[in-house]
Symmetry: C2
């Protein structure tokens, strides 16, 4: 038994103190989720975390209110083109007021200005609406960008709290429902897009069960020769599965804001020996890397566990990507990658994907198995329950 890990609120307060900051402004959906547990609907909410007061959450008037967690002071700002054509100056003024009340002058207020690779909010059909002018107006209230500070902030994503781990486990549980549908449907004659559609549908239907208010999957199925592309991109085409195919599913799922990122490979009928070998090597490499996950091991060592297995079969040149990344608040969380030579060490509470793959165009076949692996005090926990061994 070890001491309880620090709560999220303690971590954030520690970060602010260490940086000499009085407040932090957040508006990216994944930042809001990480800092407060709130997953925004429109992506137009804004959070101020204070060093010595409860956070304030600004939501547009049109935001649903039924999933806002406790412990937040909630403020509404106007929205809707009929009453207020440009709500952002109103919001910026309100943010400025709250900072003044807290005597937090600009130099002691931090913000991450980057809009890159943000998580999608619940309304996922469009990128978030915050305009450039808004970001510039907010910048006037905050300290200048500081690369070191932003790196320290990104570190807050790395170690998940027990509550967050439960939420990521639930995302894996929901994704498992989709993977089950994948294996049931990976049959000769079915189109890739039909399988992917059935998988996403099974995931969406989980809304309303187990406290799930948002559940969306992005399933990408590649079969036969298309599976050899799965190391460069993932999508579904109208190709119909054939006997002897390998079929790769890349599945991102977002449940209540928390993400899982899983890959499985199925065989249709009886692939030839060379193709079976591709699957076996990828599976073996993945199992080997997963088995090595424990605190104190470096990411580079984990990468080598997978990469060496593949190299030993003479297939090194067919594994062209990294072995893994952090996951949970986004499809791809910030933080170090599992890459050759990466010296960063695994710590309890981290959740990383382990996803080596082997893609051989000449054989018209590719295989990848990907799991989300929690680093525990004594080793690891694989969060999906769907076995990575060949099925169908």
């Amino acid at each position: 038994m070890t001491a309880n890990p620090p709560s999220r609120a303690q971590q954030i307060r520690g970060f602010l103190q260490q940086q000499g900051l009085l407040a932090w402004i957040a508006w990216r959906p994944d930042e809001l989720l990480m800092l407060s547990g709130y997953f925004p609907f429109w992506g137009a909410s804004l959070l101020i975390c204070f060093a010595d007061a409860e956070p304030i959450l600004f939501v547009p008037q049109i935001e649903p209110r039924d999933h806002i967690p406790g412990g937040l002071r909630v403020r509404e700002y106007p929205w809707g083109d009929l009453k207020c054509s440009d709500p952002y100056p109103v919001l910026v003024a309100a943010v400025g007021d709250e900072l003044s009340k807290a005597r937090a002058e600009g130099q002691r207020v931090g913000m991450n200005p980057s809009a890159s690779r943000i998580s999608l909010p619940i309304q996922a059909a469009e990128q978030i609406p915050m305009p450039e002018a808004f970001a510039m107006q907010l910048s006037a209230l905050t300290a200048k960008p500081d690369a070191r500070r932003h790196a320290a902030f990104a570190d807050l994503y790395l170690r998940k709290t027990p509550e967050e781990i439960r939420a990521i486990r639930l995302a894996n549980r929901v994704a498992d429902v989709g993977l089950q549908v994948f294996f049931e449907n990976a049959q000769s004659g079915i189109a890739e897009a039909e399988i992917a559609a059935a998988v996403e549908s099974a995931i969406y239907r989980q809304i309303g069960h187990d406290g799930i208010f948002h559940s969306r999957g992005w399933a990408m199925v590649q079969s036969g020769p298309n599976s050899a592309d799965a190391g460069r991109f993932n999508r579904s085409t109208g190709r119909h599965l054939e006997n002897g195919d390998l079929v790769v599913i890349e599945l991102a799922a977002c449940v209540n804001g928390y993400w899982s990122d899983l890959t499985r490979t199925a065989a249709v009928g009886s692939p030839n020996m060379e193709v079976e070998q591709i699957f076996a090597v990828a599976r073996d490499a993945q199992q080997s890397a997963v088995d090595g996950v424990r605190p104190g091991v470096s990411a580079g060592e984990i990468d080598a566990l997978a990469r060496d297995k593949i190299a030993a079969r003479g297939l090194a040149s067919f594994f062209t990507h990294h072995t893994g990344h952090h996951v949970g608040f986004r499809y791809h969380d910030p933080g170090f990658l599992i890459l050759p030579g990466e010296s960063a060490k695994l710590e309890p509470g981290m959740v990383l994907t382990i996803e080596p793959g082997v893609y051989v165009p000449e054989q018209g076949a590719g295989a990848r198995i990907e799991d989300d692996v929690l680093v525990t005090e004594s080793g690891h926990e694989v969060l999906s329950r769907i076995d990575g061994s060949m099925q169908a």
Copy 2:
């Protein structure tokens, strides 16, 4: 018969000449689609349009190549963490080289720096990866932001070419398949999320038919009391439909990059008279506004056609949003809204949504019917074939 409208290439050249520009740099997925017909996979592609040369498209090495249209000079830039950890400086240098070759100095190169409300690329589970630093590096190669110029550029979205209209019509045709599934499933006892899942699934399955390489729907179903929220937000919950409910579906669909945005309302069993009235008024208002669409009419006049019908029944305060917006390259295209008092006039080739709604919390019911309406030379064409009248 009238003269052929200018081609997209002619429009762009006209814009560059009018602005005194030699080149335009685009990287937002909807801009690439509008300027070149190319819908990017990763959202990390970049296009340079020249005043007097064929455009150049830069794609990351991991981009699929099978849907790149002709007439583009395609250049690859490195990607992938194993060979090149930061591809953006390489891309920026390559862009700079091409501009130098064309003798296009910064002041004569335009770019839209905003990242707000960008269309999602094919890989839709994550926002596009272009980092802030990349945008800043590009800015060094281009003229300073100029609000008037950006407004003139946004005008290019307004009038669709015949080819684009065919693509938007196809998106409506695919969405219709989803709407059919909606009406078949809008039955007592089924959960909102189950219906939405079935609709999205039917849309995804269209991949591989009729030249469709990408087809994704975002269906949001709200029933009974939840339908009264449909004017503020759209989502699906686990609520099971009951006799007497109105059920609203908001359906965004993206087919090969082109968007449709449709709403239908169904009745479950026999709603009471007040609830039936809500539907009837919304339907009447929508039909009235659609009927008024023709070249030369102002957006404000169209808005009044809908809004007056609702006001005449004493329900004005329950229609709280705009009547419509441009659609096609995005779920919500830039351009004027159909709003009270808006003086902008409709022109042939414009595609606008017409979507009045009536939402009455006291009755636990809301209704909206939304169509994508093409302005033709002589009047209009409703692009969906699924009638807006109550069904189920």
